[in-house]
């Protein structure tokens, strides 16, 4: 084993390789590593943030749901109230209408009765006169005995 110029050749090659490594190998690879490290850190951050946002969103959904539920309950209650009110109103109207119709009918009936009575009375007067004529055998002057006849009719 003898030393020769190979050692100088090795020193030169080593220097060149170190230089090339410094220039073309180390910087791009470490840069890529650092970049990836940053990306992973950012990704983890983003995941954290997303999880937090999700929790927030769930919270707000919960709140919104609660609110709408309450609102729906209110609306239903109002609707129920309104419905019963309408039913009540309708009932009242119907009752009033019924009363009115009854009153009108009663009045009509009364009137009919009265007119029938009037007619009967008139006829009774005639009948009475006729009856009396027959009984008396003489005619009764309607005009002379008008007062009497009317009194009779009124008594019937």
């Amino acid at each position: 084993m003898n030393m020769n110029m190979t050692i100088l050749g090795q020193i030169i090659s080593f220097a060149i390789f170190v230089y090339l490594c410094m220039k073309f190998v180390w910087p791009p690879l470490t840069a890529a590593l650092a970049e990836r490290q940053k990306m992973i850190a950012e990704g983890l951050d983003a995941a954290d943030k997303a999880a937090r946002e999700l929790a927030d969103a769930q919270q707000s959904v919960e709140t919104a749901l609660q609110e709408s539920k309450a609102q729906a309950a209110t609306i239903i209650e109002q609707a129920n109230k309104r419905a019963s009110q309408i039913v009540d109103e309708a009932k009242e109207t119907a009752q009033a209408e019924a009363t009115r119709i009854k009153v009108a009918a009663t009045a009509d009936v009364e009137q009919e009765i009265n007119s029938a009575k009037e007619a009967l009375r008139a006829q009774v007067a005639t009948l009475v006169v006729a009856g009396a004529e027959k009984i008396l055998g003489a005619s009764i002057d309607v005009n002379n005995h008008k007062e009497l006849v009317d009194k009779l009719a009124a008594e019937l």
């Binding site: 030393m3 020769n4 190979t6 170190v18 490594c21 190998v25 791009p28 690879l29 890529a32």
Partner: protein
Amino acid sequence: MASGMTSSEYIAHHLTNLTYGKHPVNGWSFAENGQQVVEMGFMSINVDSMVWSVGLGAFFIWLFSRVGRTATTGVPSGVQNFIEMIIEFVDDNVKSMFHHKSAVIAPMALTIFVWVFLMNLMDLVPVDWIPHLAGLMGIHFMKIVPSTDLNVTMGISFSVFFLIVFYSIKAKGVGGFLAELSLQPLGKWALPFNLLLELVGLIAKPISLALRLFGNMYAGEMIFILIALLPFWAQWVLSVPWALFHILIITLQAFIFMVLTIVYLAMAHDHH
């Protein structure tokens, strides 16, 4: 094992680099045997070590820069994932041991880790395949594991050594660095002793780095070569367990080289 060779010739053949250099007699030529390699001395170069190490380093740069260019910040693909894992592993190590600002340390640690690992990995290629192929092409010697060549490990460790000295001076100034070398551990009255001790300590860093890696890989390679001396039908009994165990050694040695480099450079930045 190639026919017509004794065991010692086979081993020596597998441990000889393809060396090109200035031979006193033949001039600039490829060494034909170990003797000529020795005769060439310093004015020679291990072509196989250079080709394989530069090739593996280029492969590392090509693969990693390609992934770096196409790196997505989304879900990484298989290769990108694997490479990011290595980058993060190296980056974690650097950050836990080196607390100063430097644009060089982390890329250098990555280069050392991957490059040394790839060079060690060649050890797992069966020892005869590539040398035999090279032999067919007329190349006599071919050592494909660059980290079993002391020149290669020394080359890296002395680069680290230069950086240790450079950063020591940069962080503490020339005076501070000299003071660190000479005024401790025993104070200024034992200056020569301190200097000797600290210089040995300083030199021991790159030497131990290089020898540790070289020794481990050389020993591992040697065991593979010895296993290859067995009859072909018996080799797997030893070579498979050793290869599995060697995967651990390969990774561990690359890791140790990287970690010690970081530690030494962190020490260079620190004030005592």
